[in-house]
Amino acid sequence: MTNTRKHFSDELEELNNRVEAMGQEVLESYKRLVIACEDNDIDLAHHIMDHDKIVNGLEESINVDAYLLIAKQCPVASDLRQIISAVKISNDLERIADYSVNIAKYIIKTKNDNDQFVSRVVALTNLFIPMLKDIIKAFKSRDVEAALKVSEIDEKIDTTYKKYVKEFIKLARAKTDEEAEEAMRVILVLKQIERAGDHVTNIAENIVYMVNAKRLELD
């Protein structure tokens, strides 16, 4: 059967491509974050903050186009689910990008001369990066199984996060006020990555909804 709505299909595909492109931009930010943290590279941290404008612009354009497609094309069934999912996923990606900005701000504000701090932030970010990469791939290939698999990484991130928090609480008790404050800040930074992981599981839920209309709640 020929596609009688080729123009609409093309517009939908374009919308999906933009969601994927947005994912890649966010992924880049996290890769840069690792380098900025390890090398205490303030310029790169500033770059991550500036880069957020691109991500925000993409989210805005996805929202506007989705809104127009709904108003003008009266989408139903899988078409409608794709558009709703594009809006929700781009919203999650925007939040994930915001967390990278918060971490970049931390890099800029603090001295980062404590190896333990740096290594923990880098370690948790390095756990998160493959998770984000996998979900972008799962979105592109509409792979529900692969999407659900990210929850395994999320569990790992949660466990690691809790372990690190305990470490830093201990540090905060034992050392000077200054170091205690620093330890608290690191906990807040680690929390950003833990939250980013939660947003990736939201994306996984949306991929499932987009593909087979099932609503799931991943832990």
Partner: protein, 251 residues
Amino acid sequence: MKTVFKIENLDLFYGEFQALKNISLEIEKNQVTALIGPSGCGKSTFLRCLNRMNDLIESCKIMGDVAYHDENVYDRDYDVIGLRTKVGMVFQNPNPFPMSIYDNIAYGPRCQGIKDKKRLDEIVHTSLEKAALIDEVKDRLNDSAMGLSGGQQQRLCIARAIAMEPEVILMDEPTSALDPIATLKIEELMNDLKKDYTIVIVTHSMQQAARISDKTAFFLMGELIEVDSTDTIFTQPKNQKTEDYITGRFG
């Protein structure tokens, strides 16, 4: 954006009844302009002014300017035949001539004096191709056009209009007699055709206007209530009457 038609202060009367009231509107090149509004709002009457199809109605009186490339088509010595060659029309009900598919398309060019068989073959082929009908009829060009389905007949009428190499194609509810799939095929076609032609379409279906047009004009009781980009009309119309109509609150 190049303006093809510039309509200014157009009033139209059928006898004592004023069907169009002070309409000013511009039709842009290579765009699809949709005219929407409830029955009797004047949208078809307006469309028919663009190639002077209202001339045949005796009681019809027109005032104001309908400028096609800066020339008022209602000027006394305006070349109406030339206008209708450049501004083709497709009607609500498909109206193929009772002759072969080939002859339907070749009819207009032949009337214009084209006799060369090769040239006519070329025109027929290109027109059917542009109307997205060629694949369905290429093996039966000599069959009667009356044997085609409604949707195919309507695309044949579009091909027939294209054969005259028009600049503008006016469409008066071109899909209201067609089933949903045939309708979508015509809509897809319009999206493709706007690369080469300027299209003005009257439609009862707001969704159709939303799907295919670049610009939408909303008519109500002979007045042009609002005209804007289709994106704007269907997401943030400025006039409450437009909002009420497109959201189905009246009509």
